[in-house]
Subunit: 228 residues, 2 copies
Amino acid sequence: MTELLWGKQPLPSRGPKPAVTLAAIAEVGIRIADAEGLDAVSMQRIAAELPVTKMALYRYVPGKAELVAVMSDLAMGAPPQRPAVPWRTSLYTWAMDLYDGFLLHPWLLQSTIGRRLLGPNELAWMESGISALAGSGLTGGEQFDSILVITSHVRNIAQQSTTFPGATTGLTEDDVNQSLAEILRTEAARFPHLTAALQTLAGSENQGLVFGLHRILDGLERLIQDRG
Amino acid sequence: MTELLWGKQPLPSRGPKPAVTLAAIAEVGIRIADAEGLDAVSMQRIAAELPVTKMALYRYVPGKAELVAVMSDLAMGAPPQRPAVPWRTSLYTWAMDLYDGFLLHPWLLQSTIGRRLLGPNELAWMESGISALAGSGLTGGEQFDSILVITSHVRNIAQQSTTFPGATTGLTEDDVNQSLAEILRTEAARFPHLTAALQTLAGSENQGLVFGLHRILDGLERLIQDRG
DNA sequence: GATTAATTGTGTCCGCTGGACACAGTAAAG
DNA sequence: CTTTACTGTGTCCAGCGGACACAATTAATC
């Protein structure tokens, strides 16, 4: 599996030339996932857009799970190179870059959950985030935990804001709000603080993203200052 | 759908008595998901543990997605009642309670992602979290965003720490670490800061959870103090 | 050059999934 | 007693991931 992700496949000597490549297979999968969601990606579907049949794909990848892992690391891409700036600015930009990536390939939110082996691009993203905190005085573990908190936040905001084909329930944000309003019309007594909070809700684009990001960075700042 | 989640089903007058109930169906689903993961939950499987056939289930629920939604809100349960304490302590406990819930039913991490209609229990959790910030001086939107950040963090930590049947790739944390160590043995030059951070990594149980939680709460504290 | 061994692509088959649909049985209202 | 509403069952379908045997192709070896 690690060999697949890192492209360290020993190329065979004998036998017919392969008709396709793992990268080409993954790219087709990415195209389908981008257009119709991760659920639309099936071995049949991928093979249909290549000059091979479904079963031929299993010569390049052991199973669908592994293929999705390869697709994910490929779609993630390398993190943008940014000039060296203070850690706070650097992490802010890093988070925004990450957010952009998730908007570009929303299915990554599905495919990169839970414990998994890390590919070169995902590791490069980690390296990029960690490097911002390299001279901060935090321990290695704290650096990891810090970028983990930021990643979690970015992920969940992206998950909420994006409406990507196939994966969600097909509900618009208005549907949810309308359902909530209807419920609170009859059950407001059970949820007083929630009802009150909804009165003063002025939703603007990306507000949740920057709000949470600033709170996390404020918290990190306090820790770093206490250390220094 | 809202009627399903909130149990507002108009009970019919004529016709045969239903052999089961929606709640009973959902409970069987929860038992299966707890034991074997969400992927093991199928209509066949549920029906096999009930005195009905698969197709009879569709008399109680329109489809599997809706059933999972009902299961989720039911398994979530009501948030524990806690005594009134300062907002910071209250949110800390709230986050820990949430974490415990996710460990109890790990599949909730799968089933409660993305935009969805809210059931009574999930709404009660929100109410409980919001109420901690009711007198803090934050706006309603800020209160929402605050508990959203905390929820994101708790979710992602739970996702990482739990090894629940069927859903994950079946990798242990050692597998991941070993793969990482092997990669860095040959590719350390590409990931210098990451390699350095790994040197001073002292992983202890729940460290990531409390670390991130304190950073977020520190950030909120600063905002609240600035307001007051 | 002929033979052997390794590798690729194909076709067939399987169990499983969610769900559509027609139909028979049951209970209450008229 | 008839009508009406409702429940449960059996059959059928397309699609999924994948196991497996088999033919075709190519390079290394004798």
